[in-house]
């Protein structure tokens, strides 16, 4: 496991790289733009895929996001990490897109439940089971709580960064996180599976 300082250094290095890239983009540097795009495409695609299964919509949201990045790179004032700035744009593009398109099944509803054979692949199947358990839990959360958890655990954003992305107070982020965790504690054991049983004996927080 990485120490806190390692993680902090990694984050700082990544941001320094992205700040340089964004400055270059502001001057019309295509290669820098492509680098930024390719760095963010996979995590953003996975984040958006939790809200829609439509590949075309996922790509559309990402391209709308980077269309704005291309045009507004010069307006970035550096009061957040570049990654957080981009995620914030993507979040707004995603909300806009999901509002203007007919709802579609989530990826979670489509690609799950194809059970893996056990035995030799037990480690892989445990991993999948854990991922599935989490996905089911997240599906039970109200959208804001779910997005808060995804931004924190999937995209690694801090409390302050999530507040900036979702345009709310840090107190709101804390409250959403708090209620999300309470609800997951209450609902997840009912979902079955080994992972759920493992936490079934845990106490409720007092």
């Amino acid at each position: 496991m990485k120490s806190t300082t390692d993680i902090a250094d990694t984050r700082t290095d990544a941001d320094a790289f992205e700040r340089d890239a964004l400055r270059a983009v502001a001057h019309g540097d295509r290669a820098a733009f492509e680098r930024l795009y390719l760095r963010h495409h996979a995590p953003l695609a996975r984040f958006i895929a939790r809200h829609t299964a439509r590949r075309d919509l996922i790509d559309e949201v990402i391209n709308d996001t980077f269309w704005i990045v291309w045009r507004k790179a010069g307006e970035f004032r550096g009061d957040s990490k570049v990654g957080t700035w981009i995620i914030g744009i993507a979040y707004r593009c995603m909300l806009k897109s999901l509002r203007s398109h007919a709802p579609v099944p989530e990826a979670a509803d489509i690609d799950t439940d194809d059970a893996l054979p056990g035995g030799a692949e037990s480690s892989e199947s445990e991993t999948r089971e854990l991922a599935d358990w989490v996905r089911r839990g997240l599906a039970l959360l109200p959208p804001e709580q779910r997005t808060t958890m995804e931004l924190a655990y999937y995209l690694g954003q801090s409390c302050e960064e999530i507040a900036a992305i979702m345009n709310c107070a840090t107190g709101t982020v804390k409250a959403r996180m708090f209620h999300a965790r309470l609800r997951l504690r209450n609902t997840l054991p009912a979902l079955g599976g080994d992972a759920a049983q493992a936490i079934d004996t845990r106490k409720q927080p007092s």
């Binding site: 990485k2 806190t4 300082t5 902090a8 295509r30 492509e34 795009y37 390719l38 495409h41 996979a42 695609a45 996975r46 895929a49 590949r55 996922i58 790509d59 990402i62 391209n63 980077f66 269309w67 291309w70 509002r99 203007s100 007919a102 709802p103 099944p105 990826a107 690609d111 991993t127 999948r128 854990l130 991922a131 599935d132 989490v134 996905r135 839990g137 997240l138 039970l140 959360l141 109200p142 958890m149 924190a152 655990y153 999937y154 690694g156 954003q157 801090s158 960064e161 804390k174 996180m177 708090f178 965790r181 609902t187 009912a190 992972a195 936490i199 845990r202 106490k203 927080p205 007092s206």
Partner: protein
Amino acid sequence: MTPATPLTHRETWELIPWVVNGTATPNERQDVERHLRDCADCRDEYALQMQFHAGMNAGGDVEHDAQPSLRRLLARIDTPEEQALSADAAPPARARWPQWLAAAVVVQAIGLALLGGAQLKQAGAPDAGYRTLTNAPAASAAAIRLVPSPQLSLTELSQLLAAQQLRVVEANADATILGVAPTHEAADVDAIVARLRATPGVLLAEPAAGAAHAPR
């Protein structure tokens, strides 16, 4: 920096996610670690959140080639502004909420028509159900808060409600969150909630008591 006073249980609980995702400050992390040494409950919570963090980052890979869509974006960037604007003009926003509000009202109508007099008495007035859908209800008779999946068709929703012997008594402004009540008084709300949670197409089901009204 002077050593902070030991964290309370609640403070620790609030900091745990940020320690787990690596965004807590070194001081916060130290304080949390100190508390965890002496508190089994918070250690449990820490372990659970670690597990959750791992689960969100495991599996579910979206194999998705970025290159084709990058090429489309670059082509769009190369398109002169005016053309791009007309090509990108968003289709008129097709809001799904009015459709949902309509659906909830229709479900309500079906419910009232099927159930007849007994339920009307319970609701207080013959048109109570309709009123609570359009005006803020003064006192909610909802026993369960239900968020159906937006993918659920009206027919599926009404079948789902009928199967659990439920009727819609209120809805939030955009009708994404429904307040429902059992059609017979002796119903076991917890059991119904458990069944609803196991039903495909139900995003959320919880007892309404203490949950107050739908957010927003």
